[in-house]
């Protein structure tokens, strides 16, 4: 099972390496969206500091929604997904491996780039660390719940927009606790409560997301 997980992840990474554009687009989109806000609202440092976490998190959610339609679509179109379903590998392992690869290719780079964005917003060092931590805990949720959304909208025309409508409301707790952790640091409150809740949400979504994605994939390929 672990073997299946690792060779699917390795294949996804190899595919991403052969078409670098896809993963790079998402990261550039994230950086551009987050950098537009200071230009739009003006260079008032206090104002920028208070809105920093919210802006970074919303940009991360939008970047995730941008990347999710491709999670299963190419494998669906060329018959690979069908082969995965008829293979002896448990479907849940396939879904978990694809979600893990999605996080490695989108969530992780976004989280690592976020402190640089935070500098634009004049965030102090402590808050930058919390921003990074909140993204490291929170972005896997986007891949796990996003997998369910991507599976549900598989083969639907205009599925990309529908996918956004479907998963963005599910991402609300991540946004609230993720941005909340950074904001509470700024006003001198320990962010560990927010981060713990974010961790709890990650635990729940790692059970619910892949399971829902499996059910949706079986229906999509019926």
């Amino acid at each position: 099972m672990l073997h299946a997980f690792s060779f699917i992840v390795r294949r996804e990474l190899r595919l991403a390496l052969r078409r670098k554009g896809d993963a790079l687009n998402v990261l550039v989109f994230f950086v551009v969206v987050a950098s537009l806000f200071p230009l739009g609202v003006g260079p008032e440092p206090n104002q920028l500091r208070t809105m920093a976490a919210g802006v970074v998190w919303i940009a991360a959610l939008l970047a995730a929604v941008l990347s999710l339609p491709r999670l299963f679509a190419t494998d669906y179109a060329d018959g690979t997904l069908e082969q995965m379903l008829v293979s002896p590998q448990p479907l849940i392992v396939v879904v978990l491996a694809k979600a893990a690869a999605h996080w490695l290719l989108t969530g992780l780079p976004l989280a690592l780039a976020a402190p640089l964005i935070g500098l634009q917003y004049d965030l102090p060092a402590g808050a930058l660390g919390v921003l990074l931590a909140s993204l490291l805990i929170g972005t896997p949720v986007l891949s796990l719940l996003g997998a369910a959304g991507a599976a549900l909208t598989l083969g639907v025309r205009g599925g990309g927009a529908l996918l956004g409508l479907l998963v963005l409301p599910l991402f609300v707790p991540v946004l609230v606790f993720g941005a909340g952790a950074v904001t509470s640091t700024l006003i001198g409150i320990n962010p560990s409560a927010h981060l713990s809740l974010l961790g709890a949400f990650l635990a729940v979504s790692s059970l619910v997301g892949p399971w829902a994605a499996c059910a949706a994939l079986r229906v999509a390929l019926d």
Partner: protein
């Protein structure tokens, strides 16, 4: 060891394709599924593969409803080649045999490509393949799956030239001679030597 279809009925989009279809396939058995366009050949194969749920009836393997054990002993090749443009022919075949749970060395994959006449394409990214070469790359899995008892092949001869058809039918005949089972849909009447050959005709 046998595949049993018991009173299968299938529908697509509310349209009844066939009902009360039953057959038994024993070791060495070949079943040809015939029928016009839209008669339900692909649906029947997908039902046998466990992808599509039948409206009524059931598929049994060694007497049990199909499940995880069945998927280990079955190879299904559908219309889509499941070949990734970005990967080389060798990488594609390596992945598809790994996902089928087969541990196969690079030299075995090379000889499988040899048996389909595409050994020289091994290191070529699949995006440069022609339609027929792509189909050959997908069918090279047959040469790696001689230990898999049941083959379900949907239109294996489509897009192939005469030479490739001969190669594929030889692989099928060898599989049957070794006690394997084969269900295939085909518009052409390709001769395959089989100890026990039957055919069913689907009519809508």
């Amino acid at each position: 060891m046998m595949l049993l279809a018991d009173a299968l009925s299938c529908e697509r989009g509310g349209l009844r394709l066939f009902s009360d279809l039953g057959f038994v396939l024993q070791a060495g058995g070949l079943l040809r599924v015939r029928g016009g366009n839209g008669a339900g050949k692909t649906t029947l194969l997908r039902t046998l593969a466990g992808l599509t749920r039948p409206a009524a009836g059931e598929v049994r393997w060694r007497g049990d409803p199909i499940g995880d054990d069945y998927r280990r002993e079955m190879l299904f090749l559908g219309h889509a080649a499941a070949v990734k443009d970005e990967l080389t022919v060798l990488e594609n075949l390596d992945f598809s045999s790994q996902i089928s749970g087969l541990e196969i060395s690079a030299s075995k994959i090379k000889s499988a490509l040899e048996s389909l006449g595409i050994a020289r394409l091994a290191d070529l990214p699949a995006r440069y393949l022609s339609q027929g070469q792509r189909k050959r790359a997908a069918l090279a899995r047959l040469a790696l799956s001689s230990g898999v008892p049941l083959w379900l092949l949907d239109e294996p001869f489509a897009a192939l030239d005469d030479e490739a058809i001969a190669r594929v039918s030889a692989l099928c005949a060898a599989h049957l001679a070794a006690g394997g089972m084969l269900v295939l849909t085909s518009h052409q009447d390709i001769p395959i030597a089989a100890p026990d050959a039957r055919s069913i005709e689907l009519r809508s």
